[in-house]
Structure formats: structure tokens, C-alpha cells
Symmetry: D2
Subunit: 309 residues, 4 copies
Amino acid sequence: MSTQFQGVIPPVVTPRHADGSIDTDSLKNLTRHLIDGGVSGLFVLGSSGEVPYLSNAERELVVSTIAAENAAAGAASVPLIVGANEQTTNRVIEEARKVIDLGADAIVVTSMYYAIGNAEETETHFRTIHDAVSTPIFAYDVPVRTHFKLPTDLLVRLGRDGVIAGVKDSSGDDVGFRQLLLAARDIPNFDIFTGHEVVVDGALLGGAQGVVPGLGNVDPRGYRNLMDAAAAGDWAKAAAEQDRLADLFEIVYTPNGRVSGGAAGLGAFKTALQLMGIIESNTMSTPMPSLNEDETTAIKVILERNGLV
Amino acid sequence: MSTQFQGVIPPVVTPRHADGSIDTDSLKNLTRHLIDGGVSGLFVLGSSGEVPYLSNAERELVVSTIAAENAAAGAASVPLIVGANEQTTNRVIEEARKVIDLGADAIVVTSMYYAIGNAEETETHFRTIHDAVSTPIFAYDVPVRTHFKLPTDLLVRLGRDGVIAGVKDSSGDDVGFRQLLLAARDIPNFDIFTGHEVVVDGALLGGAQGVVPGLGNVDPRGYRNLMDAAAAGDWAKAAAEQDRLADLFEIVYTPNGRVSGGAAGLGAFKTALQLMGIIESNTMSTPMPSLNEDETTAIKVILERNGLV
Amino acid sequence: MSTQFQGVIPPVVTPRHADGSIDTDSLKNLTRHLIDGGVSGLFVLGSSGEVPYLSNAERELVVSTIAAENAAAGAASVPLIVGANEQTTNRVIEEARKVIDLGADAIVVTSMYYAIGNAEETETHFRTIHDAVSTPIFAYDVPVRTHFKLPTDLLVRLGRDGVIAGVKDSSGDDVGFRQLLLAARDIPNFDIFTGHEVVVDGALLGGAQGVVPGLGNVDPRGYRNLMDAAAAGDWAKAAAEQDRLADLFEIVYTPNGRVSGGAAGLGAFKTALQLMGIIESNTMSTPMPSLNEDETTAIKVILERNGLV
Amino acid sequence: MSTQFQGVIPPVVTPRHADGSIDTDSLKNLTRHLIDGGVSGLFVLGSSGEVPYLSNAERELVVSTIAAENAAAGAASVPLIVGANEQTTNRVIEEARKVIDLGADAIVVTSMYYAIGNAEETETHFRTIHDAVSTPIFAYDVPVRTHFKLPTDLLVRLGRDGVIAGVKDSSGDDVGFRQLLLAARDIPNFDIFTGHEVVVDGALLGGAQGVVPGLGNVDPRGYRNLMDAAAAGDWAKAAAEQDRLADLFEIVYTPNGRVSGGAAGLGAFKTALQLMGIIESNTMSTPMPSLNEDETTAIKVILERNGLV
């Protein structure tokens, strides 16, 4: 099938100076690092971008900084898929209009959170947003955050009706993911991405169009190589690259419970990027602690054995 | 112990016109109905106020409308405890400053949501907010929405350190609630409220200072009577009034699964207030459906047997 | 309403020798301690009795030992309510027949576990068991173990139809508990017990007939005093006794995460009984660790301030 | 690495006559159907075998019937991996000894259930069982039933120490599954099976040794073909066969909520086997309802388009 969006589309992390302010120079470096690494798009204001922690002014600064650096890449520039992250329908619409004005080529929308909805309200939610905005919408299925799993039949119906242009799946439900791939196979320009870093080969074997790996901040080229191998039908090579990336993913376990799950993963990506000289500091958004020296040392070992420092 | 805030503090619902716009006349009527009903405070921008669904402009309109009507009550006016409802620390602080400017006497803050935190980050969250704002802070324990139960020892520590002035408990954990009451008994000016409509007598018997019942929109006088009976040591009367209010609470079950849990409870409160002539319409915030004619008829029967219409 | 079963009905713990074998002498001592403490019945083979960990032979030994000691109490003997703890319907029936043969006056049955059922299957489950056995059946609502909350309307329907004689509630859902009390108020000989140690006063104020407190092993007289105060309408005294028992309940928190939740609570009850000289050892069932010396010392302090050693 | 157990090892369903008794003739037919279908082993007394619902006598009858039929296959006979399904350690050991006496070549053991344990107790649980029995042990990770996810580091440690010979994964956690495959790659004779019917190609690409698909009762040859394609490195063919099997798996959704999740899946397998003439009746264990005529018709359509009737 034809696709609008595909390939490696990493969720861009948000660098901060040690004083906590957004580090736009590092963000530009990172944007170039990703484009140079062969990505096909950038997922901006995602969970890996610490979107829940950004103030409205910071969200605007992040999108405009990435958009400017991406535009500066000229022919190499890639589509921007931007999160419109808010609790409920009308708040999402307000947020969506802001990020579209800043240059989003598509937006990413979750089901409601904090609010307690159901499937019917979720359907109304997506249809109402679609009626109000002009860009393609990706449904973001992330029940670990929203505590609501987007039902496969709802996603397929919204896809067939042109309400959504695709799905970013971080549901952790590989069975449902495969069933979605099969059920949506004949919908034109409907693109399904996995957000899970270590099962990309299997997702591609099942027919996924793209991947949104947080770890892709650290090693965009690795994910590009994996995807190229899969596209060429060299599945043994794809699996070998996936296994290597799964080893690299061990950086997220270095805090071993010292910090929250959120702070561990994002902190590891930031710390790796700092060690690689791409961003200045591994400072996290309040109230998350940054990774410490021991954790940084452990991450360096993993980067070294993967040839990244 | 001395208390700053106590008694019946209902979470004020947000009336809308049939076209979906905020109905400020109905909101003023409702505010007077509550003050006349003997409440000791108003909880503004709570879950029952549909705060997750209100745009920023609507939130401002709701607080300013209630504040004006409350001020107009002169000597009868009551404290305003206002929700500062946002995902993470810095976003809460921005929201808190807005509602304090609009007249909040205290603010209500949950743990983070959508963001995935832990106890340490939650402690930093509350301490950082306390450092940034000037009003008392109530911790709002509502794991059905935040998916994080505030630990009793954390609440007690924050209370002893003056970070929080109390707790609004909607945890559904009556064992933890009793243990919190005991553990916090000697903290001066630390006030603990239950948000559960049908177990208020037991909560008061255990030592709670106040109650934040959504059903209190419909029958503030009933909760006031319950509380007065408890204060007078007439527990048989308190329990009898509680049993009557538990029967009245059956209005929230009339949709019987037709709508989401959120829409059922709030829809029932709005429908009852409409039937009582206090608000104009039972229209819900998008994407929640409003209760229908059958449900309205069923609610009328329950109101009639409780002498409210 | 008339009741068949009421009052304090503690779930009897199962003492073991240090070598892990069942300690029948200690079990006899404990049985006498409970009867002398003023209990109205004994709940045998409950979760507090470590029933999941007992082999079939051990289950038989425990029931027959308690039954013999209870019979020896003559006029002071009390009804035995015995758990028929198995995964599914037909396995429960086999188990029920065994414990009825050993002297059970009533049996206690949960919804299915490990098996994944729903409300309809659960209704068939209880009706099929009722058709197969001759004693009254208590439904045991313990979703923390079964991961299925027994719906209030199902319990009421089973009660009205004479399928169950009552409910032992360990659901942690105090709102549902109050609604059950109200909805079942007019069913003759339908008895509702709370299993939560620290909210007994509120449960009795709401109309509960009995209490099944694990902590009642340690202080049966305290619960009897609480219940007598409630029966006399002296709610201030009931609440004061409840607060004292809530302080005593702190013994279960002494391991502070060192052992599993299951091992902490039961281990604390056993350790307290050992310190009080009622049982010989605080040895737990495999694979649960027993509480250690530090924890024992901390428990002793709590027992001392409550006048139990 | 060398393996002890590998390939397609379907969890054998348990046929019943319309009167509810075990149908040993159908069970023999089914056993031959599976062996003729090219399976590498039989998983007996699994969840798909309705083990939670079988009485002890029925469990014995099922194992001995399958063992006899398997023995009769002579050179074609396959290893029997048998569930020792009980709540806690000592009860598992008793159960394990029974099934080993009946011919089990390996046993399958879950973490405790109904009992509330933790990782330490779970480690003791497996080590104690290993010390007591003579056959290889597979850890069965099925948190949807046990409500405890077996930690990857625990499984690896138990594997390295020779306590377990492998893992049957029904965790639904594909990320954890891949990490287990990587972490256990160098443990000799340690075999990892997926229990998820529709992601077998990805699991094999990641290095899994085997598959335990409930759907394999219906189409053992399909899974054998998938596995042979994967072994030959023909991943496009493996994925195509997986997609076909995912379509066949749609039979489990025909009840569409009419019955519980447990009854829907197993009922669909039984109904398909009945339509294929392999078993006599689709009768389910009490209290599960059997699939009805409409559902049977819908299943027939799916079987027909997959060439199975």
C-alpha cells in the first residue's frame, strides 16, 4: 500500500541546560544528528520529549527550534509529526492548532487521560478533533499512561473513515498490534508505527510501516540499518541488528530502580547523548532526578561495546 | 485540633447551556443554592466540576463567576478551595498562580498523571509547588484518575513539614484513610476530607474534618444535617441521614452502563439540579453524552422519594 | 433482622512447629484463647489461616483439631465457618464436602481464580455449589486474591434466592460495602461481615452483622469490646476502641517491605501470638519467610503499649 | 545451542461428552491428530486443557489417556510436558509427583496464585520444587492468571542454576520476551516457548525454540509449516503462514463478549475441532457455557476459508 509516513521516526528528546532551561543549541545538534542518521521523520513533543513536563512556552520553543533546524536541512528535511498532548477533546484541539501553526505536518493524539472515558467517548474525541484540524492525525495508543487501550476495531473504523492517518503503538500488546496490521492492511495511506525499541524486526515482518524508538535518539543509524535490511528481505541481518540494539537498550536499566521508570529511560537516552557529545547536559525536567556518575559510567560501557563512543 | 477548613465542601458542578457554552447564570444559582444549603466551603474546578474538560478560558470563567457570587453573599461567603489541575509540577504551578489570582483561598493538587512518577518524585512535586505558591495546598488522592496512590507516610511527612494543609481523599481505600486520620491526628491545622458520598458517617466517626461530596451539589442540606448530627454525637441520626443520602446516590446508577462512569455520575448530578430548577440544562462537556429522557425520569423518582422535587 | 451468624468471627491462624509441621497443641491453645476472648464463631481455613499453603492433609488436620477443641468447650462452643478454597466450581464442591464432613457449620466460597470468568459464570458457580452442599454458604469477596470483584447486584440476587447466607467482604471497597448493606437490609438471615481490621466501627454503624479480623487472633477481647459498645449505641467508645486496635494493627507494618504483603501480616499475627505465649513458634508456611528478631522486638513494643504482654 | 524441547507443542484441549464427562475417545483422536500434524511435543494439563476446571480424578484420566495414545504412536511418539497446576509450593510438589508418575517428561509450573507472594518467595518456590522432583521444570509466565509477572532476571538466574529447563511465555510482554531470549542465549538446554498464537514468526526471528499455541489444536500442520519456513530462513513464507493463522485465530472472537474470555477461546477451539470431526462435542467445563449455533456457523466460515473443513 502507499504510505504517507514511514521509516524511522524517533521521538526527539528535549535537552536542558544544567539550570533546567531548554538548551536550544543542543536541540539543534540533536536534530541534525537524527537527520544525518537517516531518519524519515521526527516525532516532536512525544513522551520521550518529556512533553508532560514542558510548560506551554517550552513546548512552543521546542517545536519552533526543531522546525527551524529541520528547514535548514533543505532537501534533507523530514516531516514533523508533533504531539498535541492534552487531557480532553477541546484542550487537544487548542494544543493541536498551536503546533500546526508552528509547522507540524501531522499531529499525534492519545485518548483522554485523568478524565475517565469509554470507547464511545473516545470515538467522539477523535472525530471531533479531526473535524477541527487540518493535518493528518496519528492515534497514539499508550495505555501505560492513559490507562485506556485503544480497541482494534475502533482504530480500524477511524482509519477507514479517514479520521486518523495511522497509529503509533506503545501498547505493549503485540497480539493486538499484529491483528491491527492485518485488519488495516487494505486502508490506503494508513501507517502503523511501533514504539517498542526491541521488537522492531518482528513488527516489520508483520507489516509495520515505521518505528518510533526513543533509543533512536542515540542510534538512528542502527534503526535505519535494521529497516533497510528488512526492506531488502534480509531478515537475518535485521534480527542481528535488532539484537545489537536490544543490547544497547540495556542503558535504560542502569538505574536499577533508583529512579522512576520514566526518569530511567529518558535519563539514559540523555546521558548517552551527553557522552556522545551531542547534547550538553543530561538534566531532567522537574521533578525527575538526573542519572548520576555511577549510572553514567555504566552507560558508557554499553555505548563503547556498541561502538557509539 | 484546630482546623483551617472543615465541614461540607461540595465540588461545584459546571453548568452548560444546551449549546455547550458555560452557563454563568446557572452557576450563580448553584453557588447560592450551596451557600444557602449550609456548606462550609466550595471546592471549585474539581473532577465533579469537569475540570479536565474545561478550556483554560472556561476555567477562568468558572472560578471568577463563583468567586463573585460568593463575595456577593457577604457575611455568608465561604472559603474557595480551587483545583490546580495539571499533569506535572511546573504546569501545576502556572495553573495555581492563575486560580490564586482569581480568588482561591487554598488549592488542590494531585500527584502527576500521564507522566509516570514514583514516591520520591511525588514528594519533590509537592515541595516544589509549596515553595512556589502562597496558599495552603490540599493533596488530592485520586488513584482512579492518577493511577498513583499517595502513600500515607508521605502525606504525614508533608503535613508535618507544612507543605500540605490537608488531604482530599478519593482513594477508595478506607483502611488507609483511617490510618491517615490516626497518624495525622496531632498535626495542627491539618484537615482531612473524604470524597466518598456514602461513607461519610464512618469517616466522621474516625475523625475526618470534612466531606467533599459530589452529591452535595444536589442535597447540601442533607450533608450538613449529617455533619451536625455527628458533631452532636448523635451517631444513630448521622447513620440514618447517611443511609438516606446513599439511597439518593442511586441516581448515579440510572444510566446502568449506557455512558461512561464519569458521564454517569456528573450527568446524574446535573440532571437532578435541572429537575430541581437550579440549573438550566444537563448538558455535559464534549465528548460526554448527556443523560436522556428515560434516565431523567428515573432520577426524578429518586428525587421525589427523597423530598427534593 | 434475624441473623444466623454474627459478632466477632476471627480467621484462625495456623501455628507450625519450627520444623514446619502443624503444631496442633498451639492450635488448641489458640482456639481456647479465642473462645475465652468472647468470639461468636471461628473462621477456619481462611487466608489468615494460610489455607492456600496447606496441603490437603494439613487442611483436614487443622479443621479436625479446631473442631475437637471447640467441642470440648461445651456450652461455650461456637459455630465453625470453614473455607472451601479451590479454583473452580467442581473442585470447590469436592473441598466443601470434605470440610462439612469434618464439622463445618457453614462454608466460605470465593469466585473462581486462576480461571478467568465473568459475572454470569460466577453466578452459575455459586448456584451449582449451593445445589451440591447442605450448609449455608458465605460468599467471600476478596479481589486482591481472586482479581474479580463480586458485583453488589449479584450478591443481593444470590441472597434473595437463598443461594448464599451472607458475605465476607475483604474487597477494600467501602462504598460498595455500604450499598450492599442497604440493598440486603430486608433479606432474612443474610449476614454481612467485614474483613478489614481498622474500619469495624464504621462498618457496624452502617449495619454490618459481624467482623472477621485477622488481628482478632491477637486481641479477640478488643474486638468483642468494640462490638459490645456498638451494640449499646456507645459509638464514641466503639471508635476509641477501634483507634486502639488500629494502633495495634501497626504490627503488620514492622517488616516494612522486607517480606511480601502476605508474609508480613500473617507473620505479625503469629509473632504476636508467640510473644503472648499462645503459640510456640512464628514459623510460616513455605515459601514465606518468618519474621526476624528485629521485627519481633518492634512487635513487642506495640503489644506492650496495648497491654497485651 | 542444543535444546531438550523445541518445535510446536500445542496445549491439548480436553474434550467432554455432552453430559460433561471426559470423552477419552475424542481425546485419543485429538492426540493422533496432533502427532499426525507434525507436532514436536504435547503440553498436557495447560490452561487450554481447562486444567483449572478438572477434578483430580479428571486430571489423572486426561494424562493417562494422552500418555497411552502417545505411546501407541511408537516411533512417532513425542515428549509430554505436563502442567502441575496448584496454588503454592507444597501443593505443586504433590501435583507434580502425580503427573510424573503418569508419564510426564517435564512439568510446567506457574508462580503462586491466590497466595500473594513476591520475587523472593517465587524464587524459593521454584527452587523448592526443583529439589523435590526429578523431571525438567518449565516456568510458565502467565500474569493474566497469576497476576505476577516472572522477572526476567529471576528466570535467567533459575536457568543458569539448572532449576528450570525453560520458560513458557504467555505474558503478553513482547519486550520482556526478547530480552529473555537475549539474556538466556548462552544457557545450554534452556528452551523458551511463546504461547501467543499470532506473533510466532517474530518470536522465532528473535530466537525462540518453540511455540505452545492453543490454536495448534485446530491447525498443527500450519504451525509446523510456519516453523519449518523459519528454520529454513524463509521469513516471507513464515510471515505469510503466520498471517493466515492470525486470520484463523479470528474464531476466538466469534462470541463477541457473549461469554467470558476463557470460554470464548477454548470454546472456539473445541467447536472448530467438532466441526472438523476430531472431537464429538464442544461442551465446556462447568461453569463455562458452550458456544451456540450462531457462533458455530461463524466459526465454520472461518475454517472453510482456511481450508480446514
